[in-house]
Symmetry: C2
Subunit: 239 residues, 2 copies
DNA sequence: CGTTCCTTTGAATCTTCTCAATAATGGTGG
DNA sequence: CCACCATTATTGAGAAGATTCAAAGGAACG
């Protein structure tokens, strides 16, 4: 396969690329993000709600970028206990964090529109484009940083703090973030398995925030009414 | 600076490099691990117990390999709550997982002998040696995988399971692992802040395992008496 | 040899879980 | 369009696990 090479690929400063809410792929003329190099090689796919993108233990043949919808990455142990590592939204990348086999599975929370890239192609492109390689490394490290933040949440925060942190984080990452309304495409059970709580505690804690007037529980999501109060509830972040 | 280049750098299969207990740097003749490329460029340093290798928020100028001793990576929030992300032992690498600034701090648990590498040098070496770049990526992904395992532990395991898992993991990673004796260079408080428990719960749980005959509490560590039982207590791993 | 830090152990408290019942929601087919 | 079913969410009461508070013993250090 012939792959377009490009000299003088600009090396961006670390951390220069934040998530892009309301992700829209750039045209071929302007390239703000090395990830756009991948764009033309992706296959557009639609995954039905509940379907697996990949399973834990599978060889990592593809990686993905979410264009629309939401995905969960799931770890299961023998006796059925579940930990959801991440919820991924439009614009997020997926499956880049496995060298050999996937160690978590990825499941569609809603109908999902994705771009699929063969891993081998991504690797060879990264070898040619230093900026892409760096960008992918940056992404891995961002995931690690997020994982550390989650570890702090799971190890040291109360149920109320976990819910508040979760809602604020999701609000910040949500693609169409305009007002304070946050869509929750996942079930209470999913939230519980992400935050290390039970369904009942999640439900009760959200209900309590609603009674306080901090949030309002709406259809398929919540609305942040008092961001200050919610932040105060959050228990802070690492450093 | 002149840097030795080497063609025909063999590309190892993913996951081919496990941790090397009782780490001994290879001579210049045989090279089993791409990380040995770094070896000659490292500065040997001794860090006193309790000293910081680096602080959260600092620009990541150096990265390290531990030759002797143990290190903790620490996250702190505003109100003093602490989460220890990892305990690192001889042979482990440190500080490679920060692109711009360190987001955790690293502190010596014991007197520590380390090799220190300037990050810029590591990056330029990685650019020349594909195998080193791949190895470093593999290491980042291993850290992420371990973080996911810890997230499962923090979110879904009981105190007893956390302690059992922790002891087994440490036993497996300990450099001089011969018999069942595991050195614990960290305090109960450190263990608590790693496992999301309190000092008292850690102490009680370890004492209970001692009364069961599963382990024996010895000076500066424990001894595994019944590995089967300890594994059964562990609550399993992801997948 | 005293001080400080770390560890252990006990008792009471509290947060979260478990069990249980009910209500709401969403999708399906008649 | 509505009735039915399965899934999801809410809420209450009691139980359990872990925390907090408190005190005392042990180890490490200068």
């Amino acid at each position: 396969m012939q792959i377009q090479t490009r000299m003088a690929d600009p090396l961006p400063a670390a951390g220069a690329y934040q998530r892009r809410p309301g992700f829209t792929p750039a045209g071929p003329g302007k390239r703000q993000d090395p990830l756009d190099i991948l764009e033309q090689f992706g296959t557009k796919l639609t995954i039905r709600r509940g379907q697996e993108l990949y399973a834990a233990g599978e060889v990592a043949v593809y990686c993905y970028r979410i264009l629309r919808g939401a995905v969960r990455t799931v770890g299961l142990n023998e006796d059925g206990r579940r930990q959801i590592a991440e919820f991924l939204l439009a614009g997020d990348l997926l499956g880049f964090d496995s060298l050999g086999t996937h160690h978590l599975s990825a499941e569609a929370l809603t109908e999902v529109l994705i771009l699929r890239y063969p891993r081998r192609l991504v690797d060879s492109l990264a070898e040619q484009h230093g900026s892409l390689a760096l960008r992918l490394r940056d992404l891995s490290l961002q995931k690690l940083r997020r994982a550390h933040e989650t570890m702090f949440l799971l190890g040291r925060k109360s149920a109320g703090e976990r819910i508040a942190t979760f809602l604020l984080d999701l609000a910040e990452r949500s693609p169409g973030r305009t007002s304070g309304s946050v869509e929750l495409p996942m079930t209470r059970g999913d939230i519980a398995d992400h935050l290390g709580l039970t369904i009942e505690t999640v439900s009760r804690t959200i209900a309590q925030l609603g009674r306080d007037g901090t949030i309002a529980v709406i259809k398929c999501g919540i609305e942040i009414r008092d961001r200050e109060a919610l932040t105060a509830h959050g228990g802070g972040t690492l450093h």
